[in-house]
């Protein structure tokens, strides 16, 4: 992992020069039957940054994340991951290359405890061979304990010790979102995709979540792509922002510049809420 870099120390304009691409999408288009969800979008995500993706409802933000983690396969365009053009890949392949995510509508394993949910994030880190594990419970168990340690660290980090053994279906929404973040962190990803991690939260919960996101970025050096509607949060957290509207990219740059851009103002004013 990279050295610790604080978001506010670097002048934001220098991002493009200072860092290498972790991911690039070039001329990506995606449609569902007649619906064009994404039209010819290109942008990059630099190593170590927090990259916000914003835009009005239906702009194609979630679709973009789904393309990145292999849920959707764009009809056109290329995706370059760590310098190599990526072939069409399945979600679990994207996961095994270091891409983790959370979902706009929390997608947890409702029947399982917080601990087990986060533990499931370790799936790929564990022994590759299923059948070995079936045959030798012993070594598999030692391995399990090692992973437990890592998971406990994450639980400490997210301050959710109290709900370790609670089935997540019973948790309030804000905590579920936190557990979901924990599950993604357990994958020790290179790129973390967060789809509206603060939707439906009160101010205090938002502040907690913001702090976790910043800490993940700064302490673990994890690159983050963040979809968020709350402009305040976007301004505070992100290094660079890409703005989508009706599936097209309408702005890309430092948060302040983007916010001042006429195209962005129009896009937001044009949408009645």
């Amino acid at each position: 992992m990279n050295a610790i870099i604080s978001n506010n120390e670097l002048p934001q304009d220098d991002f493009a020069v200072e860092r290498e691409d972790l991911l690039r999408v070039d001329n990506v288009s995606l449609s569902f039957g007649g619906v064009k969800a994404i039209t010819n979008i290109s942008f990059d995500i630099k190593k170590g940054e927090i990259r916000a993706i914003i835009g009005p409802n239906g702009a194609g933000k979630t679709s973009m994340l789904n393309v990145i983690n292999g849920f959707y396969h764009p009809q056109e365009g290329t995706i370059t991951w760590q310098g190599k053009v990526r072939r069409k890949m399945k979600p679990y392949e994207a996961a095994s290359q270091g891409i983790a995510r959370t979902f706009q509508n929390v997608a947890l394993f409702k029947g399982m405890t917080t601990l087990d949910n986060i533990m499931s994030g370790r799936s790929l880190k564990m022994r590759k061979n299923f059948f070995l594990q079936m045959a030798w419970i012993g070594p598999a168990r030692t391995e399990e304990i090692e992973h437990r340690k890592k998971v406990e660290e994450i639980i400490d980090f997210l301050e959710i010790e109290a709900i370790r053994k609670t089935p997540v279906g019973r948790l309030p929404y804000g905590l579920q979102k936190r557990v979901e973040l924990g599950r993604a962190l357990a994958m020790e990803p290179d790129l973390l995709l967060l789809d509206e991690p603060m939707a439906g939260m009160n101010l205090e919960e938002k502040e907690d979540m913001s702090r976790f996101i910043l800490d993940v970025n700064q302490e673990f050096g994890t690159t983050i792509a963040l979809i968020e509607h709350d402009m305040g949060v976007v301004m505070d957290l992100s290094d660079r922002v890409v703005v989508l509207d009706y599936g097209k990219k309408i702005a890309d740059g430092a948060p302040g510049d983007v916010q001042a851009s006429q195209a962005v103002i129009d896009a937001y004013l044009g949408v009645s809420h």
Partner: protein
Amino acid sequence: MLYDIFIDPFVQMVEMPDFFLQVLWEGFVAGILYALIALGFVLIFKASGVFNFAQGIMVVFAGLTLVGLHENGVPAFLALILTIGVMGVLAYGIERVVMRPLVNQPDIILLMATIGLTYFLIGFGEFVFGGEPKRMIAEELGLPTGSTAFEMGERGLVILQHIDIAAAVIAIIMVTALGIFFNKTRIGRALRAVADDHQAALSVGISLNQIWAIVWFAAGLVALATGIMWGARSDVSFALEIVAFKALPVLILGGFTSIPGAIIGGLIIGFGEKIGEIYWGGLVGGGIESWLAYIIALIFLLFRPQGLFGEKIIERV
């Protein structure tokens, strides 16, 4: 008439407790075997939302493979291991050829596919091993024969067939092992994850294909155990397939996604069927065993439409 229905059976139970115990025992053994079959269904349904019509024929196919190999001179234990291998290959093949191409198709398509699989296995099994009933190689596998009579003081005898005891023990071991496997291991966690939320499971890097191959293999092992036990009590023949229909009421009772449900449901049907047949069957001229299970399930359904342990039906993504 009322006396015959409401009083006489209970009087008999009390007056001849040895006989009643015997009936209970037989109900228990049958129940455990039903539970095993239902378990095969539950595993696959839980992980993929597919109702595996072929579970019954997998029981026959496993039994036939085992016996067939032995008939061709393979020693019993080696035959057992080879059969386990065959079930593994079958699981892998089904995942590749049936599940993978049909993923995201409507459930009914997958059900049809498993019906197709059923006919394939019947045809293939007959082609390789012939259609005649075969004797299960229970003794050769070291399963006990004979029986023990337990005296109950002056009240008579209860006779336990050793093979039934073995069946019960093996079933219990198998169910416990599966329980540990699914609750304590990574694969078990992955399976529960897949059952809970396909998308989320994919996002943490769980491969659906691998999980499916594993549940089909587990269902194949359960089928093999059922085939051996059931085969030892009758014969190994395609007629065995119909015992799979006994799993349906068990599933209705226990819910399609619950492992404990399959076990408890199996026992309820097993006990209910035997007791019903012996004590009430005479009233309608006997032979009620074949449909009583459905009546029991229907009565339960009236009170608990979601089944005993039913969770909400899981949708595939």
